[in-house]
């Protein structure tokens, strides 16, 4: 009986929400981006200087959001650290043969390429899709592969913390260059723009994205590694 009543109430609620939302969902898309989007697209070459406008939005126009976003990842990483304490060692469990030959060899072959590809994605963030976040994640995945195959058993927590902190300070520092420089606003585009569409261009954007990439890679590697290796609960 309770289920039926709940179901009816839910159906009524959904119908109401649906009728409200129909006006939003059944409209067609515009031909051009709205005012904010168009302004950003129009100013891509002269203002931000990045061929990938999503990157210039992420790093420059909405860079403050990105600072917050990096902080959220930092929070998640420190939450895991707080809950699990220090990382243990990646060790092979009882009754398990450990990584097999194929995984081990394949992993050893692969993870340098993970790092390389991650770096590529980070560096080309202002030109092509990608950038600090996916690139950092790819690097972290490479680290995890190394951990899985048993090539790395220790998690260099001190180094990760160092990278995290320096990258965070670097991000804010690059922003402050704008604040105390001529532009007078946080995260302003202060460096020369360079050739539009070439690797060395877009002024401050590649630097910030590189810093983000380092930070994301360090945080995720640390967090996932710590999550994977914490063995406090084996004895329950």
């Amino acid at each position: 009986m309770r289920k039926v009543v709940t179901g009816l109430l839910l159906a009524g609620f959904l119908f109401y929400v649906g009728s409200l939302l129909a006006g939003i969902f059944l409209v067609d898309a515009p031909e051009q981006p709205r005012i904010v989007g168009s302004t950003i697209l129009a100013g891509a070459e002269d203002e931000a200087g990045a061929a990938n406008t999503v990157t210039s939005v992420v790093v420059l126009y909405r860079g403050f959001d990105t600072l917050g976003e990096v902080t959220v990842l930092f929070l998640a990483a420190s939450g895991i650290a707080l809950l699990f304490g220090h990382a243990g060692k990646a060790k092979i469990k009882k009754g398990n043969a450990g990584p097999g030959f194929i995984l081990r060899t394949g992993g050893r072959l692969l993870y340098p390429f993970f790092f390389l590809f991650g770096l590529y994605v980070i560096i080309h963030g202002h030109l092509s899709p990608g950038g600090g976040f996916p690139g950092g994640v790819i690097v972290a995945t490479g680290f995890f592969v190394a951990l899985l195959t048993g090539d790395r058993v220790n998690i260099p927590e001190g180094w990760f913390a160092l990278c995290e902190s320096l990258a965070g300070v670097g991000f804010i520092g690059l922003g402050l260059v704008g604040l105390f420089g001529e532009a007078g606003s946080f995260l302003a585009q202060v460096f020369p723009l360079g050739d539009f569409g070439s690797l060395v261009s877009a002024g401050i954007i590649p630097f910030i994205y590189a810093v983000i990439g380092v930070k994301v890679a360090a945080e995720l590697s640390g967090a996932v590694g710590r999550f994977y290796t914490s063995d406090e609960g084996e004895t329950l």
């Binding site: 990938n52 406008t53 917050g68 967090a223």
Partner: protein, 121 residues
């Protein structure tokens, strides 16, 4: 009423469907990990909705290349940047939730919400 089935409409309705399914998973499943999965599914729905807010008819990716001139309309880059943020935040929440759940499992040895008194709601 005939609904024009443009890409935009499909995505709007579909993303709302994903949201509803995600919330349904959260409210009907009793395993904590599955509930977090529901959160992720709903998150995907919200992200599609948000990307779709910047959808432009026949728009190309908002990246300037030498091949394509500026003749064709480009999609709005702002919602795409917002979605990047939201994906990362979603990951952060997921990671934290799983860490909490694993920690709780070590105390309670169960993941069933109905067996955990403090989690009844």
């Amino acid at each position: 009423m005939m609904i024009p089935l443009s890409i935009h409409t499909i995505l709007n309705i579909g993303s709302f469907g994903l949201l509803v399914i995600g919330l349904a998973i959260i409210f009907t499943k009793r395993n904590l990990i599955t509930m977090v999965i529901g959160l992720n599914v709903a998150d995907v729905g919200a992200n599609i909705l948000l990307v779709n807010a910047g959808f432009v008819k026949d728009g190309t990716a908002p990246i300037f290349t030498t091949a394509v001139g500026s003749a064709q309309a480009m999609s709005d880059p702002v919602p795409q940047a917002l979605v990047l943020t939201s994906i990362v935040i979603g990951f952060g929440i997921t990671a934290l939730a799983l860490a909490l759940i694993v920690k709780l499992y070590r105390r309670r040895t169960t993941l069933d919400v109905s067996k955990i008194r403090g989690l009844k709601w």
